[in-house]
Symmetry: C2
Subunit: 160 residues, 2 copies
């Protein structure tokens, strides 16, 4: 069975986001093997300097590197990424499956983003919107899109 | 005080979406006058024909027309709309305020969209993403963006 891994940084705090994430993860698990990995968010001072932010992202990056499954197709969510429709994302995942890869890994960074080193490792950079969403809400959006992508591939009616 | 009205079609069912919407509405009310109006969703058969969908959207459209505040700047959320960054949306709302309008009205349609007649009435067509999101999740995304837009204008730290 194809495995999708979602790596996120920092714990969800709002109860409604925790419940929404649980719901979409449950649905997703009906269509593929799904793993969610949480990386600890670096603690930064209130008004961090660029150097402090960069050091924080590098520290998160070290943890992330250890968690990307071996041989996985690796996709980072980042504002400078390419936009795809839901159908195009489903097609992309279908292509990865056809190429023989057995897993795909998606990464949502912390509120300060993702280190350049990690971005350089990505097979694909994906942007959901030119708008800035809090990374907690972005997690729900990604989970919904992954569920939608798997539904499209399974030919279910959900996505219509 | 500037008034923002959000018109949506159909009630939220999932508890986590209800809680998330309440939270962002509460925050938004700290920065502007905010009204939320719910229009009844047309009941359609399981596999509706294009004519049935069109009739349903027209019926919703009649209710929507009665609810758009007089003189409001009217914006519909639709996939063929223009994409804006959060900063550009904040700027757009700031411009509306400067132009002397005292209210803006945003519309999220039902799962089948928005009738052409209503789209033609819009001052602006906005797209958040080329991806398809369920309209319930889109409501949370719009509320968050409206809160973010007001925060940017208020110079608060939220949006960073």
């Amino acid at each position: 069975m194809f495995t999708i891994t979602l790596i996120t940084v920092g714990k969800l705090k709002e109860k409604f986001y925790i419940s929404a994430a649980e719901e979409y993860e449950k649905r997703l698990k009906g269509l593929c093997q799904f793993n969610h990995i949480t990386i600890q968010e670096s603690r930064l001072p209130d008004n961090p300097s660029p150097a402090e932010i960069s050091a924080g992202l590098d520290k998160e990056g070290e943890q992330i590197l250890l968690k990307i499954p071996k041989g996985a197709w690796f996709c980072v969510l980042t504002p400078e990424g390419k936009q795809l429709s839901s159908e195009a994302l489903a097609e992309k995942i279908a292509e990865i499956k056809i190429s023989g890869k057995s897993n795909a890994c998606f990464l949502i960074g912390s509120s300060f983003g993702i280190s350049q080193q990690i971005k350089n490792k990505a097979d694909f950079k994906l942007s959901m919107s030119p708008m800035t969403f809090p990374h907690h809400l972005a997690r729900i959006m990604v989970l919904e899109q992954l569920y939608r992508a798997e539904s499209i591939q399974a030919g279910s009616k959900y996505h219509k």
